[in-house]
Symmetry: C2
Subunit: 302 residues, 2 copies
């Protein structure tokens, strides 16, 4: 008898919705670190528990990233096992958070918030420090759902946009040399690890803004901290870091002109409800034998 294990901080009404959607298939709650022998799992349990599940036929992750699960030998242990992720799910909120951070730097919102906290009126002298995003030259490194959505949001700003895909990394350095703004949303792969190092950041024009909404491993963090402290770069918006939470002594806490969004970029009030919606839609496909959305291709690494 097939059953479904769901792993997450679901409210009662969300469990009820899952049970209603599952119909005659029993739904049980599991902890991330629990043993599990369910054929269908929704959530991100510990990878070891996933690997040890003899009955698993389909794992619906509640994330886009699946690096923790990539080491499991799926082909051998689970010949027919499917893994689906939430590719594209976070495009709207992350693209909006990226634009929010970028516009905050251009229009001084970060500085204004701190002035306000100190009940300090600066007024007119602020004005000459502000820039407009209109017409900026933008490099979008990684061109999946998030940066494609960001390109849509940037369209009315009349920016000159250069998307760089994984096949176009050879053109990255030339593009960076003429960029006012770089937004990384690329996944963590061997090709992107440490890609934005001191040499590559030095290739950006003075005053450029660097944003990372991909993975922390893409960036050499000390190199960015150096460039911000020296004033060579104009600012940074950083959603992802190598260690999260950011360690207490990390230089990013005190760098000038950096906005740390604390890996909140994908968040929305209805995030978990929307994830349940994706799972239930895929469940209907699974039962009908039709293709699921978001099937992970481990060979691509993302």
């Amino acid at each position: 008898m097939m059953d479904i294990a769901v792993c997450g901080a679901f409210a009662d009404e969300q469990v009820a919705r899952l049970r209603e959607g599952a119909g005659d298939i029993p739904v049980r709650l599991m902890e991330a670190e629990s043993d599990c022998d369910s054929a269908i799992v929704f959530g991100n349990p510990e990878p070891g528990k996933v690997a040890a599940n003899p009955n698993l036929r389909w794992l619906q992750l509640e994330s886009v990233g699946f690096g923790e699960y990539a080491g499991l030998d799926w082909k051998r242990g689970h010949g027919e096992t499917l893994i689906t992720n939430l590719a594209g799910f976070f495009a709207d909120p992350v693209a909006e958070s990226a634009l929010a951070g970028i516009l905050a730097l251009y229009r001084g919102i970060d500085r204004l918030v701190l002035l306000q906290a100190g009940k300090q009126w600066l007024g007119d002298p602020l004005r000459t420090h502000l820039r407009v995003l209109r017409g900026a030259r933008v490099v979008l490194f990684g061109y999946g759902a998030i940066n494609r959505r960001l390109a849509e949001l940037l369209a009315p700003f009349g920016c000159a946009i250069t998307p760089i895909t994984r096949d176009g990394i050879a053109g990255l350095d030339k593009a960076l040399a003429e960029a006012d703004l770089v937004v990384c949303t690329a996944p963590a792969t061997p090709a992107t690890s440490g890609l934005f190092d001191a040499v590559r950041l030095a290739n950006l024009p003075p005053g450029a803004i660097f944003c990372n909404f991909g993975r922390g491993s893409i960036l050499e963090e000390d190199a960015l901290a150096d460039a911000l402290e020296r004033g060579r770069l104009g600012g940074a918006v950083i959603d992802v870091t190598r260690d999260e939470p950011l360690p207490a002594g990390h230089r990013f806490w005190t760098c000038p002109n950096i906005i740390l969004t604390q890996h909140s970029g994908g968040g929305t009030t209805d995030e978990l409800d929307r994830k349940i919606g994706v799972f239930l839609a895929n469940l209907a496909c699974f039962r009908a034998g039709t293709p699921l959305e978001g099937i992970v291709d481990f060979s691509r690494g993302y």
Copy 2:
């Protein structure tokens, strides 16, 4: 002999540019409070000095607002005197500042900046407090250059936009009752004075966001402070206030979820250079006897 008086904090190279652009017409620098008998004036001198200028033929203001000058009896004293303002000049920066403030509230940038100042990592619990702007119902009160530009910037967000012009104020209350976001850019006129009072703000749905980039007189500030402190409204972005600088004891300093942009919305690094460009372009028209840009119509009040 006609001459030009320029009033502003011009750098040497800006004065040189003005002189080069003026050709054979002498350019002299004036203080705002100085007597002036020049035929052409660029800048915002004291209104009394403008009224007392017997030779004035054209005043190019360096602002959009001209309320201080509206009381002068132009028709009687200066039958042929033209006044031009910078209508449309600030559309890009103000629309970008408005969107920056709005996205900051939707995506938690204000809160993140304060967390960062305290070196505090909150991370995941932030996510469920964040909203997306996509699909929001937006009322644009005042539909001149700034809100038209904002409507362009909002286009890819798929917002339902209701513009309210001065002829459409009768429809304001109905529109407010269904608005997630209101952005005011209307000028200070008798019709807009105190328009956003407690009754009208109470008409907004719970959690709505109110923005004022028009004039401080449009808003009853205590009513907004009440609504924010009670949590009835979701936030506010306020560029203009009745008193600027904002007085030390003003409630806005400590209201929750308010972003004060300190009348910086129109600012850019090249603001004064661009203003000089507008003046010189109008000067060419003035000398050629062709129509100037931005001629003020006192009968409309803006």
